[in-house]
Amino acid sequence: MARSTPEIPNASMADIAFLLLTFFLVTTTMPNNKGLSIALPPPPEAAPPDNVKIQEKNMFKIQINSSDALLIEGEPREDISTLKEEIKAFVLNNGRDPASSDNPEKAIVSFKTDRGTSHKRFIQLLDIIQGAYYDIYADQAGVTNAEFREAASDLTVPKNKEIYEKGRAGIPLNISIADPTKVGN
């Protein structure tokens, strides 16, 4: 008795798979969990009134007005390509230049915006300031900037924590983001 071999028709398999594929393409998104991470200061009422006078030379002032124009250390500025190096030099001054910071622990980068400043400009400047600090940390830990940030993202791994602590030793991330002024908006 001749047996007919049973066969499943598979010509439409590709169509079915395409249909599923299209469904997933439409209903899903690429996750984006990356960005500039900061820690906010404690709630206004809980913060002790700061009577500590910060010396002018220990502050690196960056201000942006409501039309996104920059004021760095009191000087209007257009070109920001050298800003990162300036911040690094300021933080790591250690009293060499008497007009600049005493030591990295006292050095503060003060960042003030206006209510009318655009978020794009804010991110651009915050990126530069954080970049300067990450460069310093990475140098101190002996890794590249990208490796340091990678390590800082996941401190549960002991090796990452070691890199992170080595990099951060003695140099706190002193970025002060002040409440915005109220000219625009």
């Binding site: 960005g35 906010l40 206004p44 978020h119 794009k120 625009g184």
Partner: protein, 154 residues
């Protein structure tokens, strides 16, 4: 002279038997690398770019706030704050943070990170109002969501 013989007509066919395999492979790739949309975002979201990014490792500890101009004209032109599927006011943020905290396990509640997905044209004013409320709610881990800037060659 029949040196140049006419070629016998050959039927040209693309083999399609491996097509399902190829498509399934694509399908699995997308299933693994993407995630389901949980909210439909009702505000403009043109996220700014930056270089010094850090990654959030645990997605369960992240709460998203979207800020931008509403995409539908009936909600006006002023930037609004969207949390989950609704627009919220700045005064509701403390309550929203507490709700998010309650969804977490007890030992993880202080590790909640708020991810701000802000349109690049939004102003600092509304963002700083949100930040002030977050400080009041004691949710002090903050991430400004950005895309990776293509590395400049210099």
């Amino acid at each position: 002279m029949s040196k140049f013989k006419k070629k016998t007509e050959v039927k040209q066919e693309i083999p399609t038997s491996s097509m399902p395999d190829v498509v399934f492979m694509l399908l699995f790739f997308f299933m693994v690398t993407t995630e389901l949309r949980e909210t439909s975002i009702e505000v403009k979201q043109q996220i700014p770019r930056a270089e010094q990014l850090r990654k959030l490792m645990r997605k369960t500890l992240v709460a998203n706030l979207y800020i931008g101009e509403p995409t539908k004209p009936q909600y006006g032109k002023e930037p609004k704050i969207q949390a989950d599927d609704t627009f919220i006011d700045t005064k509701d943020i403390v309550r929203w943070v507490n709700e998010k905290r309650n969804e977490l396990e007890e030992f993880e509640r202080d590790q909640l990170t708020v991810s701000l997905k802000v349109d690049q044209d939004a102003k600092r004013g509304i963002i700083s109002d949100v930040e002030l409320e977050l400080r009041k709610a004691n949710a002090r881990k903050l991430l400004y969501n950005t895309l990776q800037e293509e590395n400049k060659l210099d």
